[in-house]
């Protein structure tokens, strides 16, 4: 189950990345290589094994429903490439 050129293009689209023709070829080559190796996980017998969810076995860690206001909008917006009226500005989205 080798990854195809079309799949590389599709994956790049999902990830919002742009690949030049040359990069597509290179990525295809490297991904085949890496996925071939990654596939070795399928050699491990995992019958009756549950998949891990995260690194710990803990569960039910919740927060109390109590308000703590951050209260500093300016600092939250201070890294914005473009802002207007206290909001992040982007090209028009319909």
């Amino acid at each position: 189950m080798d990854i195809s050129r079309e799949e590389i293009i599709h994956i790049a689209k999902l990830a919002n990345l742009k690949l030049t023709e040359a990069e597509i070829e290179k990525t295809l080559f490297n991904m085949k290589d890496i996925l071939n190796f990654a596939n070795t996980v399928n050699k491990v017998n995992t019958d009756n094994v549950y998949e891990s969810i995260g690194a710990t076995q803990n569960y039910n860690v919740f927060r109390k429903d109590e308000i703590k206001e951050f209260g500093d909008r300016d600092i939250l917006l201070s890294n914005a490439p473009e802002q207007e009226d206290g909001m992040f500005k982007i090209p028009k989205v319909i």
Partner: protein, 479 residues
């Protein structure tokens, strides 16, 4: 073939914002509105390095909703990431639940013309709301406000059990009423805290296979949902009748043009790449915890209805209408407690209040006066302080400028005249000025009495005690 030969098949995905104080994964307030980006912190703005912590109330509220809709509550659950890019989704993934929702396999019962019908629920899961995009003044750009980002939602997914826009409306009203009763959501459609996406397909009557469905979004009132369904069903039937094929797609309802439009570029294949969120831990629900919630669940509409019929003696129709909305039902109970005259309160709600709501295009949750004020209004009638015709005027005042009815009555000078001397004076004056009617009455025309009473009411601007008027006219006329 015509519209009558087709059956519409619908399933709903209802999103309800939970009425917790804080957001689902951070301690920012969930309050509606506010200056843009002021209900935000590094977490809900998805600043690098920040982490989510699940609000315990969100889990509790979702389980409440699950119990109230007859769902099975999962023993094991988890949060998953749904990955996609959109400017209102700051992390580029929505924390939701994929294959292990908190609640599954429930149902809601609705009334239809053919009797009761169970609408099956597939699941209820928790997730976070997205922010909002506003448009800038000159229409050149969009502006991102993340106040709503991270507000907790439950998504209630139904099976494709609905067959008409009427059924959809009953189902939605029922769901809204349940969520209001158990106090997990304020379900304000106008503020977007209750939203429904409708999956619509059509098929020839008698067919067993479902047709291809489309998903409609962006309806923000019961009216627009009904309109959208009617439009979309007609459109699909039209396409099929003309030999076309329905494409599975997401549509946006536009209320102004009354049409649906495709939402996404077909090019943009969606692949959400769900996977368990490694920042959050598993959720495990013990039987004890679920039982505890079940025990403390507020009384549901079905139970209230039963009580109204059996204990208060209201007709089933009235009990149905009163319990359809928590706000009406609470208004009824609150006012009855004050005036101790539930039947009168029920009558007011069933007739005049319903009429006002319709005329003003208001939902019950938008009633501006309190149960206490309504109760006091009934007390004023029962004590004879005002007549029922004045009471109708007071009710209008309660909608326009709510305050204690006694105060309204005093300010407007609407107190009923029950003083015998004053009433006698009016009666004598009316008799004096309407000799013809007096003669008519004496000649056996009973109708003339009504005319005379009406004249006296006119004279007193409706304030005279109608019982006393009647009695006194009779006395005078029969002298």
């Amino acid at each position: 073939m015509s519209r009558e030969d087709y059956e519409i098949v619908m399933g709903l995905e209802v999103h309800a914002e939970l009425s917790t104080k804080t957001k689902i994964f951070c301690s920012c307030p969930t309050e509606f509105g506010g200056e843009p980006n002021t209900h935000c912190c590094p977490i809900c703005m998805a600043m690098p390095g920040t982490l989510p912590v699940l609000n315990e109330k969100v889990v509790e509220y979702a389980i409440k909703a699950g119990i109230a809709t007859n769902c099975e509550i999962a023993k094991n659950s988890k949060n998953d990431r749904k990955n996609y890019f959109y400017p209102d989704l700051p992390k580029a993934y929505q924390i939701s639940q994929y294959d292990m929702p908190l609640c599954e396999r429930g149902y809601v019962e609705i009334e239809t013309e053919e009797g009761k019908k169970k609408i099956r629920l597939t699941r209820i899961h928790i997730e976070e709301d997205a922010g909002k995009l506003n448009h800038d003044e000159y229409g050149r750009g969009s502006l991102v406000d993340l106040n709503r980002a991270g507000v907790p939602l439950i998504e209630i997914v139904s099976e494709p059990d609905l067959r008409s826009s009427k059924e959809v409306e009953s189902y939605l009203r029922k769901l809204k009423s349940i969520l209001e009763y158990i106090e997990v959501s304020d379900c304000k459609m106008q503020e977007g805290s209750l939203r429904a996406d409708v999956n619509v397909s059509v098929r020839k009557k008698g067919a067993t296979e479902y047709g291809t469905r489309t998903e409609m979004k962006n309806m923000n009132s019961f009216r627009s949902i009904v309109r959208a369904i009617e439009y979309e069903a007609d459109r699909q039937i039209d396409v099929i009748e003309n030999g076309g094929k329905i494409e599975q797609e997401t549509l946006r309802w536009d209320d102004v043009s009354g049409r649906t439009f495709p939402m996404r570029d077909k090019e943009d294949a969606q692949d959400y790449r769900y996977f368990p969120d490694p920042d959050l831990l598993a959720i495990k629900m013990s039987d004890e915890y679920v039982e505890e919630i079940r025990r403390n669940l507020p009384e549901l509409p079905e139970s209230r209805k039963k009580r109204y019929i059996e204990e208060i003696g209201l007709p089933e129709y009235d009990a149905n209408l009163l319990t359809a909305s928590k706000y009406l039902s609470n208004l009824f109970e609150g006012a009855s407690a004050i005036c101790n005259n539930p039947k009168a309160v029920s009558n007011w709600i069933m007739t005049d209040i319903t009429k006002e709501l319709n005329e003003r295009e208001l939902e019950p949750d938008q009633i501006p006066f309190t149960a206490e004020q309504l109760g006091n209004l009934v007390v004023l009638i029962d004590k004879g302080t005002i007549s029922s015709s004045i009471a109708k005027k007071v009710l209008v005042e309660l909608f326009e400028n709510p305050k204690d009815p006694m105060k309204i009555v005093e300010e407007k000078g609407w107190i009923q005249i029950s003083d015998e001397g004053a009433i006698k004076e009016v009666v004598l004056k009316v008799l004096e000025n309407n000799q013809q009617s007096v003669a008519d009455y004496k000649a056996g025309k009973d109708k003339a009495l009504g005319f005379l009473v009406g004249q006296a009411m006119k004279e007193t601007k409706g304030k005279a005690n109608p019982g006393m008027l009647n009695k006194m006219f009779l006395e005078e006329l029969n002298k």
